[in-house]
Structure formats: structure tokens, C-alpha cells
Symmetry: C2
Subunit: 310 residues, 2 copies
């Protein structure tokens, strides 16, 4: 039986790495967000998938959390010199992945096939499935207009105020490689619920599966003590008029989950979340070291398994 | 009035650089070969145009004669690691040009517009016109079958025996930006007559112009003392059953030129070339230093101008 880990980029990838330290490739499968994917300078870029692959392959830049370690930027510097947009950071090694992916897409391969090839080449033994092989795209309606995800996130550095999030996917299908019948449980990684997990849940069949399945579905809170662990989660929740709290995240996922992991510091929120008919576990969930990641990952799997025995 | 320099890659670019040292951007225009252009990993690559731009911009690698100096190869190494073909050398800085060009072509720009943008960005003040904005492609029929130019030249390192050269260009038009009426003379640079100049001359209107014009057309021999200065010229001439000599090159161009520059060491060939009704000038034509290039360039222009006064 297999654990499905639903994940976005940096935050989710940390827990993902922890999971690979004790589950085998048969016991674990990743479903990755593609709502951030975009075309830039003619290259098809899948930031969350790349972050996940680089993290699991051990080649991610440890400080940035994205892109490759020991990266160089000679191509990007030259692109800027030629007057091309340089706001999106394209490292020289990273570029190879974008070139290979774009070329393969042009030859008719789908994103799953390409992801498989790249992660295998980089030595990642775990299956990584794009949530869909069809395009899904996240747009943000903001104080300065409707922005694509990367325009908002990278070009505008999350500065505009977000009024609404739009998930565009004309009937995108859940990745058909995902065999739901082999799953023993689901972990929603501590990625941004709106920007990273949201686009995936906007695919009806995934939402409906999580809503109706009898296997345990556990989310790990990306909000700790009223602050987001990483990125613009807190800012966006505020702007959307949601309290920045583990409780609000639990409420956001409430139809889909039967287990929720909050940080120890949010122990006070347990009764309120439990009142939503959700089992709650409080555990240290700030992942600084690799050991933190493995511990939280192990705790998450144990929690899933304990719920399946109820 | 303007000198038109018709040029291929490395050999021609040396003379081209010499020309820029005393002619102004109004007095000189380059017509560059695109028969070597190809798509590789989804990128549109124009090797001869790039060599010319890099040479004129002073950023060409001085040892290789192509690509950029102080180049790095991190993207190419990663492409190889991902299992992508790595026989074509894509430097990290060089890649930026391919990405920018490919992206612009996709957006409907033509090769002339893109070439202009790239050479201007790199500080080249001289006009560089692709011989055509339409695709032209050189193929070689060889001992191991029909090969595209880059397959023959780079992948197979010119090793297969050449039986025949094929210039494929479905009615490609001579670059309409080239104003033939402004020309005072033409210099055919010492590029490979078959691989670099041949594809350009296969465009009927260019061939016919050179054949019928009253302005002087001077070729500089790429063969010196029975050897090619650079690349596979000698090998190909042999395989095509042509003597490797300045005389054979003059005979090859005979319908088009009225002036021919041979190296001093080929002074014995002058009478035979003159018997083809071609004026001949013997001059040191091995370009080792920048001074050699400038001297040969100046001599070529003087020779053109002397012929126009006859």
C-alpha cells in the first residue's frame, strides 16, 4: 500500500524529503502542483516539480530552497545583456531541465513522461506525478490587475494585494497514472493552501476523491503560531480576509481531511479543530534540519496509519 | 557606396573583422551564410551569423574561432547528464543567443530582425544580413548517407567521404534588405566555397546578380599552397574530384568574379587564372594576427576599387 503526498514547492518538498528517508519507492508517491508552470522565453518551466526533484536528488540549493546548488548564471546574464527579461532566475544547470522538457513536449511527450525521465536521470527513485498532464494555471486578481502566478510571485515579489485567486484549467484531468486504489492514505504537505495545493484541489476528481474516500487524509499545517513557515501564505490569507491560523487552514481543508497536524505551539487550537470532526495531532512542525523533516514525516505517516485503524 | 562582404563562419569572419578596421558602417555590409542553420533541442541555431557577430564584437573565443571567450558549459554538461545529445557545443553564454533567437522567431520576427537585435546588443555597428530570411539548408551525400551540415561537420567531424553537396531551399529569396544598387563592389571572403559560400550562391538572384553586375566582384582564395587555411575545404575538394588549388577555386567562381586574390606562395598560378579573364593579385593571405587581417582586408578593398576604375 502506498502513501500519496500532495505537494507544492519548497515547503512541501521539505516534508517530501523526510518521507523518502523511511518509505520505499513502492510505499510513496508524490502528486505535484503544476499551477505555477509557465512558458518563459519559449521554455516550458515547472517550478514545483523541479524543486521537488532537486530536493529529493540532493542537488537543491540549500539556502534558496529552489534551483540547483553551485549554480551559475552566465546564460541569464547574457539574456539580460541582450535585452531579454531576466526577472525569472534561470540557472545554467537548471536551464538544461527546461530545454529538455520543452523539447520533449514539442515532440509529443507528456509532462508525466518527461518528469519521469528527468527525475530518473537525477537519481530520484520515487514516482513524481504532475497533478495533471493537461495545463492548469493559477492567476491572481490583485491591486494591480490579473497576474499569472510567476508574475505575482517572482516578478512582483508577492507585493500586490490579492483579492481573489483563479485556477484556470479547462477540464484538466487528474493524472491517469495515479492509481487511487493502491493508496493507504494521503498527506497534504505544508505547502501554501491557496497557491500550491489549491490549484490541485481545483481538479474536481481529486477533490471528490479526497472528499469521499475512506482512507485517511491528513494535512500538515503550513501556519505555525500565526505565521506562515515559508512564503506569502500569511499575507495572502490576510488579504483574502482569513485569519492567519492553523484553525483557518483546517477549516479550509475541512471537507477533505480527517486528520490535521498542528505545531506544538498551536496546541490551544486543537479543541476547535477537533470540533470540525477532524483528528488533531500536535507535533514540532518547523523543519530546520534534515532530522526535523524525517521526524515530522515519520509522525505524519504514523498519524495516517493510526487513523486508518480507527 | 558600400562594399558587400559575402561570408561564412570562421575563415570569412577573420577578413570581416579586418574590413571593420577601416571601413565605416555605411561603407560595409555583410551577407552571411545560413545554410548551416539548424534546430537542435528545440533551439534555432545560426552558427555562421553567431561566429560573425562574436568576432566583430570582440567576444569570440580566440583559440576555437567560434563561440564565446571565457565560456562555461554547465548547461551542456547537465543536458548530457539528462541523456540529451551533447555533440553540439552549447556554451552557457552562447545559449542565451539561441534562446533569444528561437523565442523571437516563434513570435513572428524574421532572422534579419533578430540578427540586428543581437548584433546591436553586442555592440556591432555593422549591418549583418542573413543571406535569406527563408530557410536554406546544406546537406551532404556521404559514404554513410545523407547528412545535415551539422551532423557532418560537428557530429561526424567531417570524417565521412563527401560525394555530393545538396543545397535545399524551396525558392528562398535573397534578403530583401540588401540594396544591390548601393554597392560599389563585392568581396567573397575566404570561406569554404562549397559549404559556406555555395549555399548562398544557390539562391538564383544572388548568383545572377554577381554574374551580371558591372561592379567588381573579388574572391579571396581560401586555398593557399595546395592546402585549405581552415576546416575541411581541402578534403571536400579532393573527395569531389577537384584539385586542391587556388586555380580550382578561381575556376569554381569564374562566372561570378572578375578579381581573385591568391596567396604570395601561389604566384605561379596567376597566369592560368588570368587566362580565365580574371584579374589576379598575389598577397599574403594567411591571417594569423589582427594586423594580417586588416592588411588583407585593406588590400582586398583596394583591389576592388582598382577594378572599378578599369
Amino acid at each position: 500500500m502506498t502513501i500519496l503526498a500532495i505537494t507544492g514547492g519548497i515547503g512541501g518538498a521539505k516534508l517530501a524529503l523526510g518521507l523518502t528517508h523511511f518509505l520505499t519507492p513502492n510505499e510513496l508517491i508524490f502528486l505535484a502542483n503544476t499551477g505555477d508552470d509557465f512558458e518563459h522565453l519559449g521554455l516550458y518551466i515547472s517550478p514545483d516539480i523541479d524543486t521537488l526533484i532537486y530536493t529529493l536528488a540532493g542537488v537543491v540549493d540549500p539556502d534558496r530552497g529552489w534551483g540547483r546548488s553551485e549554480e551559475t548564471w552566465h546564460c541569464l546574464d547574457t539574456l539580460a545583456y541582450l535585452g531579454e527579461p531576466s526577472w525569472f532566475q534561470l540557472g545554467d544547470q537548471d536551464l538544461a531541465v527546461h530545454i529538455a522538457r520543452t523539447h520533449a513536449l514539442k515532440r509529443g511527450k507528456n509532462l508525466s513522461e518527461i518528469t519521469d525521465r528527468i527525475r530518473i536521470a537525477l537519481g530520484v527513485k520515487y514516482r513524481i506525478l504532475p497533478v495533471s498532464d493537461d495545463p492548469i494555471r493559477t492567476f491572481l486578481h490583485t491591486s494591480i490587475g490579473r497576474l499569472s502566478f510567476q508574475e505575482y510571485f517572482v516578478k512582483k515579489r508577492c507585493e500586490p494585494t490579492v483579492n481573489q485567486i483563479e485556477y484556470e484549467h479547462s477540464n484538466a484531468c487528474l493524472n491517469p497514472r495515479l492509481d487511487l486504489s493502491e493508496l493507504e492514505g494521503v498527506i497534504i504537505c505544508p505547502s501554501n493552501p491557496y497557491l500550491s495545493i489549491g490549484p490541485m484541489l481545483a481538479i474536481d476528481s481529486l477533490f471528490e476523491f479526497l472528499q469521499s474516500t475512506r482512507i485517511p487524509v491528513v494535512a500538515v499545517s503550513p501556519v505555525v503560531a500565526g505565521k506562515a513557515i515559508k512564503g506569502p501564505t500569511a499575507k495572502i490569507m490576510q488579504e483574502l480576509g482569513v485569519a492567519v491560523s492553523a484553525i483557518a487552514v483546517a477549516r479550509h481543508y475541512k471537507e477533505l481531511i480527517n486528520g490535521f497536524i498542528v505545531d506544538e505551539s498551536d496546541i490551544d487550537s486543537v479543541p476547535e479543530i477537533e470540533s470540525m470532526d477532524i483528528s488533531v495531532s500536535a507535533y514540532p512542525s518547523v523543519m530546520t534540519t534534515l532530522q526535523d523533516r524525517i521526524k515530522l514525516a515519520r509522525h505524519s505517516v504514523n498519524f495516517v496509519r493510526s487513523l486508518s485503524q480507527q
